[in-house]
């Protein structure tokens, strides 16, 4: 999903990144690191926000070229907002993910950004969708993305359980982010987490020194 620094040189600022989204019983947790890098050597921003709110209960996390991702999410946010007003009801997470997918697929030549769309809606409850680079849309119980995700596939595959509680899920997401940020040089900074439920949206920010430490730290 994420090209290495050679391509980023051409594209400019990229989010060498770790992003994830996990459903639990009653909601979904979406999380990311906060580092934006250029060329794999220089950290442009230590505290960038990769969790974009596209509607009241729907968030997107971005990976790939930051410029492309911002352009797509701005457009998608507008389209979803208009759609929601026309429908006179909050948009379905599937609808929001489809809007992102249409933008990515129809502009696949120019764009280099992938997304995870997650949120809560009244019809199907908490959902996670991944929109890959070329515009593939897939619905999953949880998903990880970005350059840092390669280091935590084993961890997430082993430790994920369906129907976790909010606390278990928060711990799972935090651990996954910490492990990825620990090994990927282009992921780091603070861990941003957002907990989305029917009742609302809660931001949790965990600074780098408060992240869980593992055996070698």
């Amino acid at each position: 999903m994420e090209r290495h620094y050679m391509d980023s040189k051409i594209k400019g600022v990229s989010t060498g990144t770790t992003i994830l989204a996990v459903t639990f019983n009653g909601g979904v947790i979406i999380g990311s690191d906060s580092r934006a890098s250029m060329g794999g050597n220089y950290v442009c921003s230590k505290t960038i926000n990769k969790l974009i709110q596209v509607h009241d209960r729907i968030f997107c996390c971005i990976a790939g070229s930051l410029a492309d991702a911002q352009a797509v999410t701005k457009t998608a946010k507008f389209q979803i907002s208009l759609h929601s007003i026309q429908m006179e009801s909050p948009p379905l997470v599937k609808a929001a993910a489809s809007v992102m997918k249409e933008l990515c697929y129809n502009n696949k030549e120019e764009l280099q950004a992938g997304f995870i769309t997650a949120g809560w809606d009244k019809k199907k409850g908490p959902q996670v969708y991944t929109v890959a680079l070329g515009g593939m849309l897939l619905s999953l119980p949880f998903t990880i993305g970005g350059s840092g995700s390669t280091y935590i596939y084993g961890y997430t595959d082993a430790k994920y359980k369906p129907d976790m509680s909010r606390e278990e899920c928060l711990q799972f997401a935090t651990n996954a982010l910490a492990l990825a940020m620990g090994r990927d040089n282009v992921s780091g900074g603070v861990a941003h987490l957002v907990v989305i439920t029917e009742g609302g949206v809660e931001h949790v920010v965990i600074p780098g020194d408060k992240l869980p430490k593992f055996h070698d730290e």
Binding site: H83, M87, A97, V99, K101
Partner: protein
């Protein structure tokens, strides 16, 4: 005595007392009393056509159309007046059939684009508003004429349940529990009002719809007719389709028997 005739400069002839005069020639003109006559004339076109009804019940929607057969040479089942707009949406029409066909294509495109953009079935309220907006656009300009048809849209969805909307040539859409369009719409509405549709299932309703069409059909003026019946609901798993042969036959038999009973009871009263 006829009112005096007047001749205009371009040799059109009109009756002096006709209030319509120059206000009814294009849709872009209001009359002094605030009416758009072209739209009203379009509704007249609907009233000349045979009746179509749609009724929403507890678990679905049933459509019935009185399709007049003008010649024995027509192939049975041709010139259908019930269309499929999407898997879960059906459309019954009255008025100019060619106009209705073109609108059914518009509705199909709307439903298809929605699904392509947003990944799920179009909600019926939204679809009917979009098609109504399209119909309305044709009531604004003198270069085009309004559509001469009304149509009833019905759908069934697991979460929203059964929905029924009607759109008329003026471009407004209304939500209904039961509605009728076409020449016998008043008589049909009276019959529909007698039903307790909120408590009925589709299977029960199909028979009542057939009965209403048979009741409002005018044996004297219009001879032969074909009954088109379709439904969408839990019974069809959310798919809009023509009613299966055995259910049709049962419904028509029920309709014919009810009519005979009423005739008999009328005779007794005499």
């Amino acid at each position: 005595m006829l009112p005096p005739l007047c001749f205009t400069a371009d040799f059109r002839v009109y009756h002096m007392l006709s209030s319509k005069l120059k206000y009814d020639l294009s849709a872009s003109t209001f009359s002094p009393d605030g009416r758009v006559f072209q739209v009203e004339y379009a509704m007249k076109a609907v009233e000349n056509s045979s009746t179509a009804i749609g009724i929403r019940c507890k678990d679905g929607v049933v459509f019935g159309v009185e399709k007049l057969v003008l010649s024995k040479l027509y192939e049975q089942g041709s010139n259908k007046r019930i269309f499929n707009v999407d898997r879960h949406v059906g459309m019954a029409v009255a008025g100019l059939l060619a106009d209705a066909r073109s609108l059914s294509e518009v509705a199909r495109e709307e439903a298809s684009n929605f699904r392509s953009n947003y990944g799920h079935n179009i909600p019926l309220k939204h679809l009917s508003e979009r098609v109504a907006m399209y119909v309305h656009a044709y009531t604004l300009y003198s270069a085009v004429r309004p559509f001469g048809c009304s149509f009833i849209l019905g759908s069934y969805d697991q979460d929203d349940g059964p929905q029924l909307y009607m759109v008329d040539p003026s471009g407004i859409s209304y939500g209904y529990w039961g509605c009728a369009i076409g020449k016998a719409k008043q008589a049909a509405k009276t019959e529909i009002e007698k039903l307790q549709m909120k408590d009925m299932t589709c299977r029960e309703l199909v028979k009542e719809v057939a009965k209403i069409i048979y009741i409002v059909h005018d044996e004297v003026k219009d001879k032969a007719f074909e009954l088109e019946l379709s439904w969408v609901g839990e019974v069809t798993n959310g798919k809009h389709e023509l009613v299966p042969k055995d259910v049709r036959e049962e419904a028509e038999k029920y309709a014919k028997d009810s009519l005979e009973e009423e005739d008999d009871s009328d005779e007794e009263n005499m």
